[in-house]
Symmetry: C2
Subunit: 230 residues, 2 copies
């Protein structure tokens, strides 16, 4: 009996968070409403309130759930690969696919909610800032491991890594922004070209990296409105 209740609670939690991640990627976190989501999903309001407590709890849970999706799609597939710039490039490719394939209907989840909360101090902003700082540090670590493994050309210092990570992230984020705003899939190719040029410029063996990025498809349809998102 108790196990059944726990399982049902977990299932409801997953259902709610899948919905709130989709909504937030299009319309932001501010407009989330526990009552409206319960009624849209045909769930008991008291049950949903018991799981999340407050709107802020729901917002924080939504950000954490999106981090899990992001890690599953972008980070986990390369985690076991040997250190090197090929691994770094593969990570970038996975990011461009994550954005271009609209794993979240509004494009990169973190791009949208960062801009929404960046100037509004509080726990939601702190959670988003933490997620983005973790991602920046992860890219820096992958690059630094490539450097330590001898993947950088002679004379490269550890101080090149944060600059390189900054430039790579900048290219990925603008690809997402231009793709969503202009429905222009070619932004992914531009970003891929720029990232490869940066990686090749520091590489001990540039020829181990592709010269050009493969085509990264943008979404086939216009952005899904949150009403239609499942």
């Amino acid at each position: 009996m108790a196990d059944g209740r726990v399982e049902r609670g977990n299932q409801t939690r997953r259902t709610v968070l899948e919905r709130t991640m989709s909504i937030a990627s299009v319309d932001g976190l501010e407009g989330l409403s526990l009552g409206k989501i319960a009624s849209d999903l045909g769930l008991s309001k008291s049950g949903v309130f018991a799981l999340f407590g407050s709107k802020e709890d729901l917002q924080l849970a939504t950000v954490r759930a999106a981090v899990e999706v992001f890690v599953e799609r972008v980070v986990r597939p390369v985690r076991e690969e040997p250190a090197g710039l090929t691994k770094a490039w593969r990570l970038c490719e996975l990011w461009l696919e994550y954005s271009g394939h609209r794993i979240f209907p509004g494009g990169c989840f973190f791009y949208g909610v960062s801009a929404e909360y960046d100037a509004r101090p509080g726990p939601v902003r702190d959670e988003i800032a933490k997620a983005r700082a973790d991602w920046t540090r992860y890219i820096e670590r992958v690059l630094d491991e490539a450097r330590t493994a001898g993947g950088f050309r002679q004379g490269s210092g550890a101080d090149e890594v944060p600059q390189l990570a900054f430039e790579i992230i900048a290219l990925m984020e603008l690809a997402n922004a231009h793709s969503v705003l202009f429905e222009d899939g070619s932004a992914y190719e531009r970003a891929g070209r720029g990232i490869l040029a940066r990686l090749r410029s520091v590489a001990a063996a540039p020829d181990e990296l592709p010269e050009r990025p493969p085509a990264i498809d943008g979404p086939t349809a216009a952005p899904t409105s949150s009403a239609a998102a499942s």
Copy 2:
């Protein structure tokens, strides 16, 4: 009499738009309310409604007013400078200062509202997309004029311009994002270094460009909440 009324109307319009630009740069365009703004500013509601008509009209007028501020701060100061990569760099420096000095309290106006509306089709999104497309084209034009004037190294083609513009815009936007979210002013220096490296890599005379960017101060205080913004 009639002139006085027109002048008062223009003045009210400016007062309202200064307020809505500040609010929107922090909290977005969605939450703007004609009634609330009228009461916050001690203006007659019917007067404000007569000037703007609807919330959407107010949102569109706010985006257009922000474009004017942007042009005044970033574009106009270099407009008369001779074509060349020095002019392109000066334009980028003005952008970094515009963001870093928090001309709008939430950082770059267009960064925030783009992420808010990018996946929501409609006139507001179209107006934002137009502003961003105009800006992209302006940077491309300045770069292409530099190329035509002989500023690019031998063998450079016109096809390098859109890629270069994309990479430069990416660096500027991430500087804004990191500065606002992490309150980290060093993002401007990273962006400036990256932009100068890109410009020098295509330049016929790289030494005419500075080797390093000057310090660009971030804001001295934490982001202003919209309640405190004038």
